[in-house]
């Protein structure tokens, strides 16, 4: 049985934040869940996917976030408890249905999980999705800890049903990817049979209907504001209630910042003088609660990662209530936190005299010491907690970096090398896309000149090919092509653009941890009842006139085929088919057959200088292959000018 299905109540289990949210959804009786995978939310979906194998929970990996949101919207309006899961940028894709779903509302509870990524550990931007709640007029909950994430997920379903609106549950990476012990609660019985009661005047959003629905949404938002005032998720922590509550140092915070602020107040020994307002129900903000909190503070510091979402609201509420104490949070001096700045002077940070400490930045995530320093500085308290000064790192030589790299035997490396060879001497722009293959921009391959968002490779190719005289060759993975590359390709064919699109089809959504996509043969994962879609047939049906399928581990043949595709005037598509090595190994369809470098090697180093597979290393000045990681793709063996790379006899 899946560990999140345990029916023991009160058991303490160590869970990742994402697992805690999945458990919360299970306890709440979630019946229907959809997603497009994206870090840092991926494990949440993965757990629900696994659970759906064992239970009557319906779960699907949808083609993209917009599709996931629409599939979920129908389920929720058929009365089912529904969850829709995505990373922060995924909500951009799903924003179109979100805005009008808010007008329609839901019948069964619907929770939309958006996982923000301050510091961009695995994302292309660090947008603050709290603004989506404001934009859509939807209630939003934000947990501070792993155990609270579970409880809040359950509360989010209840809130959604109480208001008949979807609820946005917003996490950040440090919630999704932290672990703690979580106490199990009772699992509510799932209701998996929905019923849609027709009511065109509530569901068909023509202008006449929507004008009424908008009134309803604003009424719901007002109701939500009242609920936010008395929500258990918005609470005040004040150490000593017997002493006068007036003239306190006020801190308003959300999410993980609440943890850092709590630790800081304790470490600085100012618990008696401080009170903290933790906002967990953050849209709508609890205006009256904030006004009554603020009126007896001598100064207020707002601590929130990302944008000044709460700070601006708090300032507006204070103005309404004629409260004139200093309120600050972000003061516009964007200073990168030490862990991210590349300079070696970083350790000076904690030696700054307090008056020089700038306040919070919109950039990156916070950390406990940073929050402590800024609290001390803002309230004019001596930071006595300075014994933990980082050691001096000056004098430590540069250590070679470990940037993430395409894996040993990754087929993308082979394709990039072949496209590079085939286009030698041409002046090419290489738009790329979101996936493992984004890493192809690293040297020595250096394939990738422009990356914006999912599907962007195809449509930006349209623009580059019209706006410049360059040859344009773009790269997109199979999952990303299904996600949002298809529409760009339709555009290219219709508008008669001129570029070559390389679809890197490794048969899985690899970057986020091997999730299915519409091209995947699900029987490999022991799933029945799916119909995989052929990329080749799809591309042909769109009307692309030049289509080439290559097997990238056949180097010479592939280069010839690519050259031909590049010479075609118009839209040409190359489909490079080879299973993801990691995935193939994990489902045991690939048995590694390592190669080695023989005595014939005369140290040309083409292998290292041109493809740089991580299985190569240098020992005593000569190139070697690590037999433990080499899978035997044989690409290096085919490019070695001396044929010095041969299979290792086993």
């Amino acid at each position: 049985m899946h560990k999140l299905l345990s029916d023991k109540i009160g058991e303490e289990i160590m869970l990742l934040g994402n697992e805690a949210i999945a458990r919360g959804a299970i306890e709440a009786g979630v019946a229907f869940a959809t997603t497009y995978p994206g870090t840092p939310s991926s494990e949440l979906s993965l757990n629900l996917f696994q659970i759906s194998k064992e239970t009557d929970l319906y779960f699907e990996y949808s083609t993209n976030e917009k599709v996931a949101m629409e599939v979920a919207a129908a389920a929720a309006n058929s009365g089912l408890r529904t969850m829709c899961i995505m990373k922060h940028v995924g909500l951009n894709v799903a924003a179109d249905p979100l805005m009008t779903l808010a007008y329609i509302g839901v019948k069964g509870g619907m929770v939309i999980l958006t996982a923000d990524d301050p510091s961009m550990f695995s994302s292309q931007n660090e947008q603050d999705n709290r603004y989506y709640a404001k934009l859509a007029g939807l209630p939003m909950l934000e947990p501070s800890s792993v155990s609270e994430a579970k409880e809040m997920t359950i509360a989010a379903f209840e809130l959604s049903e109480a208001l008949q609106e979807p609820v946005i549950l917003r996490t950040t990476t440090r919630i999704n990817h932290s672990s703690a012990f979580v106490k199990t609660g009772e699992i509510k019985t799932r209701n998996t049979k929905g019923f849609f009661k027709k009511d065109q005047m509530s569901y068909v959003t023509v202008p006449a209907v929507s004008r009424k629905l908008h009134v309803k949404l604003l009424a719901n938002l007002k109701k939500a504001a009242e609920m936010s005032e008395s929500s258990i998720h918005n609470f005040v922590v004040s150490a000593n209630s017997s002493t006068c509550n007036a003239n306190k140092l006020g801190i308003i915070c959300n999410g993980v910042s609440y943890l850092y602020a709590s630790d800081a107040v304790k470490d600085l020994g100012i618990e008696d003088r401080t009170k903290i307002l933790r906002i967990g129900f953050s849209n709508p903000m609890p205006a009256n609660l904030i006004k009554s909190f603020a009126k007896d503070c001598q100064k207020i510091l707002v601590i929130e990662e990302g944008e000044p979402f709460m700070e601006e609201a708090v300032k507006a509420f204070a103005q309404e209530a004629s409260i004139f104490v200093p309120i600050s949070g972000k003061n516009g001096e964007e200073v990168a936190p030490p862990c991210i700045s590349s300079s070696s002077e970083q350790t000076e940070g904690c030696l700054l005299p307090s008056e020089q400490e700038p306040l919070f930045s919109r950039l990156y995530e916070f950390d406990p010491a940073m929050v402590r320093r800024k609290i001390a500085s803002f309230f004019g308290i001596e930071d006595t907690y300075t014994h933990l000064k980082p050691v001096d790192t000056k004098g430590i030589p540069d250590i070679p970096q470990r940037p993430p790299n395409l894996c040993s035997g990754c087929s993308h490396r082979a394709t990039f090398y072949e496209v590079k060879k085939a286009s030698q001497g041409m002046d090419v722009i290489f738009p790329s896309d979101i996936g493992c293959y984004t890493l192809g921009f690293l040297p020595p391959l250096s394939m990738g000149d422009f990356v914006i968002c999912m599907g962007g490779s195809v449509s930006t190719s349209c623009g580059f090919s019209k706006a410049t005289d360059h040859k344009v060759v773009s790269f997109i993975g199979d999952s990303t092509f299904f996600h949002s590359g298809i529409t760009g390709l339709v555009n290219a064919v219709f508008n008669n653009h001129n570029f070559t699109l390389v679809i890197l089809d490794n048969g899985i959504t690899a970057m986020t941890g091997h999730q299915p996509n519409p091209g995947v043969d699900m029987t490999q994962m022991n799933f029945e009842g799916y119909k995989p879609i052929s990329i080749e047939k799809l591309v042909r049906a769109i009307g692309v006139e030049h289509i080439t399928v290559i097997k990238p581990f056949k180097v010479r043949k592939s280069i010839e085929a690519i050259k031909e595709a590049l010479a075609f005037k118009g839209v040409s598509v190359i489909i490079s088919q080879e299973p993801c090595t990691l995935f193939a190994k994990s489902i045991k369809i690939l048995k590694p057959r390592p190669f080695h470098i023989t005595a014939k090697c005369v140290d040309h180093r083409d292998c290292i200088n041109q493809i740089a597979c991580p299985s190569f290393y240098i020992e005593n000045g000569r190139v070697k292959i690590d037999a433990d990681t080499c899978v035997g793709c044989a690409v290096c063996a085919q490019i070695c000018p001396d044929n010095a790379i041969l299979p290792l006899k086993q």
Binding site: E12, T173, S179, V256, C339, D367, P368, I399
Partner: protein, 199 residues
């Protein structure tokens, strides 16, 4: 109880997430509150994996620069890279078997000499335990037990509020059945090695 902060740094695939899981389980068995945070998005693509584990009363699950009570490095250059997480009193344990990054292999950067790494660490954090954990992992029966060898050394240091017995119990509970005996052997080899080389 006092808060104790541990940082584990490793290269993707070295098993520091399992090591964290074992320590978390041991904390539960000991009635010690614990929170962990990990950055592992690109682990399978050869990146660095860092776990922060906070034992005791603090609420934060991440650890700021200079605030680790203990740093355990599964790879010597990664231990050195994480020096900014240490203060002068931080206890450091490192394996000495290198896993050179591919950037060094293709000539972008030079992997430091092991002796040099050790002295650069010791100059900053005198309380250093450094040994070849890979050798001991192989002795235990599998290079994959390197993580548990280092857990053994970590428990020997006595910085964390965990006893040898509870961690052994946690290993029995949390590692794969077929590997328990090998892991217990690895744990003991690491424990004894730290005893032998501790200053």
């Amino acid at each position: 109880m006092d808060t104790k902060r541990l940082i584990i740094v490793a290269v993707g695939g070295q098993g520091n997430l399992l090591a964290s899981k074992v320590l978390g389980e041991a904390a539960l068995l000991s009635g010690v509150s614990v929170r962990m945070s990990e950055i592992h998005g690109m682990a399978q693509r050869g990146g660095v994996v860092e776990s922060a584990i906070v034992f005791g009363d603090a609420q934060s699950s991440i650890i700021s620069d200079g605030e680790a009570d203990m740093l355990v490095g599964f790879e010597p250059a990664e231990t050195l890279r994480a020096m900014n997480r240490c203060n002068v009193n931080t206890k450091v344990i490192t394996s000495l078997s290198p896993v050179p990054p591919f950037t060094a292999a293709i000539g972008r950067g030079v992997y430091p000499e092991i002796e040099n790494i050790v002295s650069l660490i010791r100059e900053r954090t005198p309380s250093l335990v450094a040994f070849d954990a890979m050798k001991l992992a192989k002795e235990a029966g599998n290079p994959m037990t390197l993580n548990i060898v280092l857990v053994g050394a970590l428990v020997q240091s006595n910085v964390l509020p965990l006893t040898r017995e509870t961690v052994e119990e946690a290993i029995t509970l949390r590692t794969k059945k077929g590997f328990v005996d090998m892991n217990i052997k690895a744990f003991n080899l690491g424990f004894d090695a730290a005893q032998g080389v501790a200053l």
